[in-house]
Amino acid sequence: MRKRGWLFDLYPSGKGITLWIIDEDGAKTKGYAQFTPHFFMHVKESERPHVENVARKLHCTVSKEWIYRTEIYSGKQIPVLEVSAPDTLHFKDAVRRFESEFPYYVFFNSDLTPVQMFLYERNLFPLAFGEYIFENNMLVSVELQDRFDAMDYTVPPLNVMTLKPARTDAAPKYQHNPTLEVSYDNRGYLIEAETIEEVLTELNAHILRFDPDVILSQYGDDTFFPLLSEWSRRTRIPLHLNRDSSAGDMKTAEVSYWTYGKIVHRSAGFQLAGRWHIDMENSFILGESELSGLLDLARITRIPVQKQARTSIGTGLSSMQLNWAYQHDILIPAKKQEWEKFKSALMLLLADRGGLIYLPIMGYHEQVAELDFTSMYPTIMYIHNVSPETVNCGCCSNDAVPELHYTICEKRRGIIPETISAVLKKRAEYKKREKNAVSQEVKKEFHERQTALKWMLVTTFGYLGYKNARFGKIEAHESVNAFAREGLLRAKKIAEDRGFSVIHGIVDCLWLKKSGATVDDYEKLCDEISEQTGIHISLEGIYKWILFPESRMDSAIPTANRYVGAYTNGEVKVRGLEVRRRDTPKFIRRMQSEVIELMSKASGIQELKSFIPAIMEIVRSHLEILRAGRVPPYELIIRHTISKDANEYANSSVQAVVAQEMSEAGVALKPGETAEYIIIDHTGKRSTKAKPFIFHQPEDGYDVEKYTELALKSIEVLLEPLGYTYEIIEEMSGEIKKKCKMGNSSVLQGIS
């Protein structure tokens, strides 16, 4: 049997690996591939009988000869034993048993999943197009007509069904008996059944009728699928979520973890067999880059789509590195082995530094240009061959890294530059295609694809210094920073030598100003900087005006990366202000956004000043609605990430009150989850300080005084540098009324 089509889904099963192919006519075929996962052990000759003994008990086989493979850091061949597991389902158990029997030996390739290993070994990837040849339903060969890093590729026509809660104002886990809404073929169906048996039967009927390839859900991972599968168990009514009825549930555990100074919560995953389930609420990459970005990433990282949707970008990056190592017969250590070398305190002081930050010159500026280095950190790794095994390689004696005087290998290319080169090339091409796109549709497609890759490039650098990254080495991480500082400093010097002054600079961006400078002047400057640093820098745009507001902590100084400006083409760029912050109530974001929209029409500071009456009109009209109690509650929601359990709060802050109220109601928020609340009385004198949004009733009202203050502060940021202080703005906006009760019809309309 020959099937010309795409590799849609794959997972381990009793027959090795189960594969689903979608052919060009849209037909789905299930087949199997025989596959024996294996790993390597570097043990003493005398341990060999012991290894064979353990293998016999576990039905594993051990290679008869010692096999020579490359150890990544030394680049030397070392002898290892190859241990093959009996099948794909028992690979993990076998590894675990071996690890407990041989705790002091190094294992290689042992933490790869059988699916990963299969894809690497057969040089396949999700959605790979080609001719799949089966005999007796077993895959015998593949004639691939596709490449994992291809820029032009086709995607099978996919039947997409969406599954979401009918009520979307609060997460379903906080709702009593949430109702499901299923949509496909441009039609939506509410599953309003009386009993759980009916819900299951009705949902099954929809799935059987439409036979979706993809179920795009909202809260499927977190709430619906676990709930449905529990109901199915209880009622013994089989649930047809899986296309492959012989496969069981494929679940992963939920986790809360710290990353970049904040706590993050990831829901448990619920994957399907023979069809994809993607939870839009539980996929970082889908939120950033939509389905086309996700598919592009799955292809290049060789991680099955459902896993790629839920995994961190770093995992995708690791997979690319693992594949490269696998293809080059390089052993992949199961645990990181490269510890940090000893340094003197002075050296540590010199090496352990990040990128450079020039605080902005506070206030409004006109005709400022923004210059950005394109993918600066990955480009540094690529052009300077920065990789864990190449920095301080031990075989070369050069002085390659500025300031730190580390050496970089001249004899071999590193795993990092080798793997990111495909991503860099792909992203550069996608950016070009996005820019030259003839239709909005094509533009969107390439924007999504390049955004997904951007996240991957961003992660490469972090992973060099991440303690758990397999191919990480702190000296490589330090080297990239050193090159980056050197790059920014050189750019600054060139700009200053040409008469430009630096208004602001962060790591890989510069904001420059020179009286009378034209686009041409800036382009020339970019060319000169690109040539001298080896990293491409481009003109992002020229601002008609840009504001660097004062810091919220100290009004006499500005903060980095907080600004608002309007480019000469009228486009607005905002960073760090309320309108960009997801903790700010929607009502305030909308008001600030309207004001900024108006301001973007001004050609310069003088005209901005003439807009003040119109700005105040916007503010007044919004405050009028606020004071009349007519703002729908969901527009007043303040979002706050919970950092500890409800009983761990020692104070009675608004956040503590909310976390405790939720906990008392039986909803225990996990650290990293978001609490949504409305301020009722921030003083806490007249009533409770705040109410979780889900418990908020119209008669609770909201704190007009506090919300007015938040609104005015969002305007003060913009007008204070023009001489309008909070007091002046407050006076111009009219008087404040105290807490108001809501209950009129317009409020209720807002809720529904």
């Binding site: 970049y260 540590l348 990040g354 450079l356 991440y466 100290d554 006499a556």
Partner: protein, 100 residues
Amino acid sequence: MGRTVETFTVVIQEQRTLWKKFREALRKEDQQVLDELFRAPKIHLAACAYDVKPIPFENVVMSMLVEEHKKAVALQEIVDKLNERLTKLETENAKAGMAV
């Protein structure tokens, strides 16, 4: 994140804490002056971080000196301009007096 050496922003905060007792004993108006001085290293974060000294107080003081001298130069320019105008006025007045 996971850094061994603190960022210079944190170092500035620590340096302020080191001078907390000193600040307490200052008169209220002088406390404000000290607070203003401590803004200097924040303004020169890039330079401080690029060339951090084993005793970071040296970076803090050097930043303060740069900012103070910048202000002195700016003030000197104003004084020079005012002086120029004053001399001009005096010359004009003297001429007017002679004419009278």
